[in-house]
Symmetry: C2
Subunit: 199 residues, 2 copies
C-alpha cells in the first residue's frame, strides 16, 4: 500500500528544497493537497514564472529580470566604487543603511572547500572583468566576517590587487562570526564608513 | 532596492508551505534559482500534476487518483471491519504490520478546537454514511493516543454507538503521547490484536 503515484512524485519533488527531508516533504504534500490547493497552484505558477524571467544581471550578477539591473544602469550612483557581497540579501541590507552609493557585485555564495564551493562557483571571472572596466577605482570587500567570508575576502583581494586595483574591506564593526544579514543598520553603516585598505 | 518581482512572488508563494517562514522562503528561492533550476521546474510540474489527478477516495477518504481506491475495491479484504485513522501515513503504518485485513476510513486530521478543526473538518458525515453501509460490523478506532487523538476517538465512538454500531479501540500498546507514525511495527501489531470494545 503506497500513496498515489502523483502524490509520491510530489513528495520526491519537494525534497529539492533545502532543509526538507522525507518526513517534512510528506507533511508538506499532505498539507497542500488537503488544506491549501490554491497555495499549491500559486506556488507552481510562481516557480514557472521565476524560472522563466529571473536570471542574473550581466554586470553585478544579482538576480534580475533585465539583462542589466536597474541599480547598474542608474546614473545617480558612483560608478567608481564596486562593493562585493556574498548574497542579494547582503546587498539589500547595505542599501537600507543608505551609507553607500556605489555599485555592487554579488558573488552568490562564498568560498567553502568543505561544501565543494570553489572559485568557479562564485563567478570570479565575471567579477574580474567587471572590476577592470576602467571606471572602477576602488573595490570594497563586504563579505561576512565568518571563516568562509574572510577566506573569500582574502582570496578575492589577492586577485584584484595583482591587477593593480585598490581594495578595501568594510571595518570589523560586526561581531566575530557575525553575518551581515543579522546585524543592525547603524553598526553596518559604521563598518562601511570605516572601511580600511587591504595591505 | 528590492528583489525582482518574480522572485518576490516566489518567496511569497513558498510561504504557503507549512513551517516555512519569510527567512527560509527567501533561502529556498535563492537556492532554487541559483543551484537547482531543474528541481524547481520538476516541483512546479509535480504540483500541477498532483493537483490535477489526486483527490479523495469516495469510500475511505484517503488520497486517491481513482474515484474509489484500490484498497476499497479489493475483494481480498474483510469488508465487515472498518478502521478509522487520522492520516494516510497511519494507514500505511498499519498495512506494514500485516495484522489487519479490513477496510479503512481516513479522517485527514483530528479534532483540535484550538486550531479551529471541528467535526466538519474531519469528514464525519462521510464516515457515518460509510459505516452504515450494511456491511460494516465493527469500527476500530486507530487514532493516535495523544490528547487530540483520544478526544477524536471519544467523539467518533459516541456518534457510531448512537447508531448501534460495535466500536473498538486499538489497545494502548503505544506509549502515552505516542504517535502511530513513530511506533515500531511489533507494538502496533499488538495494539491492533488487543483492541478493546469501547464501553
Ligand atoms: Zn546589476
Ligand atoms: Zn478507498
Amino acid at each position: 500500500m503506497r500513496n498515489p503515484p502523483a502524490l509520491e512524485q510530489l513528495v520526491e519533488a519537494l525534497r529539492c528544497l533545502p532543509g526538507v527531508g522525507p518526513k517534512s516533504a510528506l507533511r508538506m504534500a499532505y498539507y497542500l493537497l488537503q488544506r491549501d490547493r490554491k497555495g499549491a497552484g500559486l506556488l507552481a505558477q510562481s516557480l514557472d514564472q521565476a524560472l522563466q524571467v529571473v536570471s542574473h544581471c550581466g554586470l553585478c550578477n544579482n538576480f534580475s529580470e533585465q539583462e542589466v539591473c536597474p541599480l547598474c544602469t542608474s546614473p545617480a550612483r558612483d560608478h567608481s566604487l564596486l562593493c562585493i557581497v556574498e548574497m542579494p540579501s547582503d546587498l539589500m541590507m547595505l542599501e537600507q543603511t543608505q551609507s553607500y552609493n556605489g555599485m555592487y557585485f554579488v558573488l552568490m555564495g562564498r568560498l567553502s572547500p568543505l561544501d565543494g564551493i570553489g572559485p568557479r562557483d562564485i563567478h570570479l571571472d565575471k567579477l574580474l572583468k567587471r572590476a577592470q572596466d576602467g571606471e572602477v577605482e576602488e573595490v570594497i570587500l563586504a563579505t561576512n566576517y565568518t571563516v568562509e567570508g574572510e577566506a573569500t575576502a582574502h582570496y578575492v583581494s589577492e586577485l584584484l590587487r595583482a591587477r593593480g586595483l585598490k581594495v578595501s574591506r568594510i571595518a570589523r564593526g560586526l561581531p566575530m562570526g557575525g553575518e551581515i544579514e543579522h546585524v543592525d543598520s547603524g553598526t553596518l553603516a559604521q563598518a562601511m564608513l570605516e572601511r580600511r585598505n587591504v595591505r
